[in-house]
Amino acid sequence: MSLEFEKLLPQIQTMGRFAAYRTSSVSERNALARDLLAAADDLQEIWRKIELARTNDAGYRGAAPLAGQINEIHAPVAPPEQATLIAVDGSQVYPDLHASALYYLTNIGGLVFHHGSDALPEPISDPQLYYSDRDIRDREGQLIKHAAVNARRTVQESQVLAHLAWLRRAAPVPLLGLMDGPLLHLFGKDVPYAEKLEADYRSALVHLYDIHRQRVEQGIGPVHVVGYVDRHESRFVVRLLHLLTLEDAQVKRSVLEAAGDFEGLDDKALYQHLLLPGQRSAVMVQQSPQNKSYKQETGVDFEIAFFYLNVGTPGQSNIVRLELPMWVARSTEAVAQVQALVLDQCQIMGRYPYVLARADELAVVSSLEKHHLENLVNVELLKNQQVVEKSPKQMGKDQARGPRQRYPQPFR
């Protein structure tokens, strides 16, 4: 152990006091925001301000109403008697320049859970190994970055979800597909072939929508798709409230970049005081170029909406953000079913959906499994007369971090 905790302890204590100060200073702003949200029932004025921000190219990244008032609160309804929930999650082993071979692994885990039935849930695991130059190197021949692996894993998650939904396309009950994390993805510069990945991701959403449409036409129930965001610092509603406090002349990029009177406040803190366990906010739409591209390039049914939901228990709130494509978000009945089914799942575990917890468990590659994978790869390399050697740097690290051992005793 080389971390000197006696030097660190005063810093940890200061950090604790700082957190307490920040909470107390934010609470006043929170009260102001709650009052403003309660009074924000003039939809015409709200839309006028949002349009003004768009016209002024003010970089507005807040929420916009979808239907009804933005300050609505919805109690949960009873979940459907039966439904099929499909959750997917992913994990990975990143490529390591210091390892004996260059490769990366993705593992997609999933669980199909039959709500309202005692039927045995169906676990799914889909590991894939990548090692060709096209897979592990970018256009300049450099080893790909973690962001690239993450992006490919996200696309695979969506494809696995679409495939699992397609296999159950004839199920005469509503289908709910759950992904861990947001639905709105725009892959960055670090991701080679990002355009293709984005196209693949949106194709998976389109596939899900096609299954939904076919099922609705056949009268056998919808397909809901949800991105479950547990830990978030979203400020979409706070940004909207900030916009509403501005005079028209102030609606410009330099003012909207800051949060004004609501500095330090986020939507989670705001809704912790507004939503009782089980209740949800109004459905809103995030205003951003990414979301606009989803709507304009993929279709109006694919713009991403969201709502906040308190999946906690009395005295222990947990405000999560649920993202939905527009084909789900525009149906009041669909949103109510999503709310009820997610809450039902959270009750099994306490404050997190059981299906997602199991999908994560099925996906995760433990350090022990990673070590086993490395050994298997090394064995195959040796069988094929390849040199198996870690970099000197990695060997040095392994030796320094390894457990203390005695020198071998000489035979007597």
Binding site: L111, F113, H114, H115, S117, D118, A119, L120, P121, P123, Q347, I348, M349, G350, Y354, A357, R358, E361
Partner: protein, 184 residues
């Protein structure tokens, strides 16, 4: 049921000459019982050495997900089945060696070598138990066992050995075992 007439209950995880621990999945837990007679045969050997033991403990370890489900206190039947049938919930069974059978002869000493990892472990059938417990020297190894409740274990093992016999022979066996115990 295996060809040898025993119910396979798991495989050896770790072993010594004094005993061994075998692992199995939770849904396979309907047959093994505390004090039951089990046997294991060395897979790589010639099959002539069969270690006989009695179950001294059955353990199911917890994990964070199971703890969370208990804390939530709203057990869902499908989730329960998922936990028990899909998840690899490991059950560990400790076994005390009480002798071995070599070329068909019962020997009431510790085996000359322990079973190997992954050797199959099965419950002894009634014929094997009756044959092995014709001699009562296995009682000595149970009484000498460390870190187990010898009274409870002895009671369970003797009861199991008696039940493997025809009803009319059970009382005679129990009396003989009692006399042996009184002499120990």
């Amino acid at each position: 049921m295996t060809a040898a007439g025993t119910y396979d209950i798991g495989r050896v995880l770790r072993a010594s000459t004094e005993g061994f621990t075998c692992g199995l999945r939770s849904q396979e837990l309907q047959y093994p019982a505390y004090g039951a007679f089990v046997q294991t045969m060395h897979l790589n050997g010639d099959g002539s050495l069969v270690v006989i033991g009695v179950i001294t403990a059955i353990r199911i370890d917890d994990d964070p997900l199971v703890r969370q489900l208990i804390m939530a206190n709203t057990m869902n039947e499908a989730a329960l089945r998922d936990q028990r049938e899909n998840r690899l919930v490991p059950v560990e069974i400790d076994v005390l060696s009480i002798g071995y059978m070599h070329n068909g002869h019962s020997i009431y000493n510790l085996p000359p070598r322990p079973p190997m990892s992954l050797d199959p472990v099965g419950l002894c059938n009634a014929d094997t138990i009756e044959y092995f417990t014709e001699g009562l020297d296995f009682i000595r190894l149970i009484l000498k066992a460390r870190n187990v409740s010898t009274e409870d274990l002895l009671g369970a093992a003797i009861r199991g050995a008696a039940q493997s016999r025809a009803t009319q022979h059970q009382r005679a066996f129990l009396v003989a075992a009692g006399r042996r115990l009184a002499g120990c």
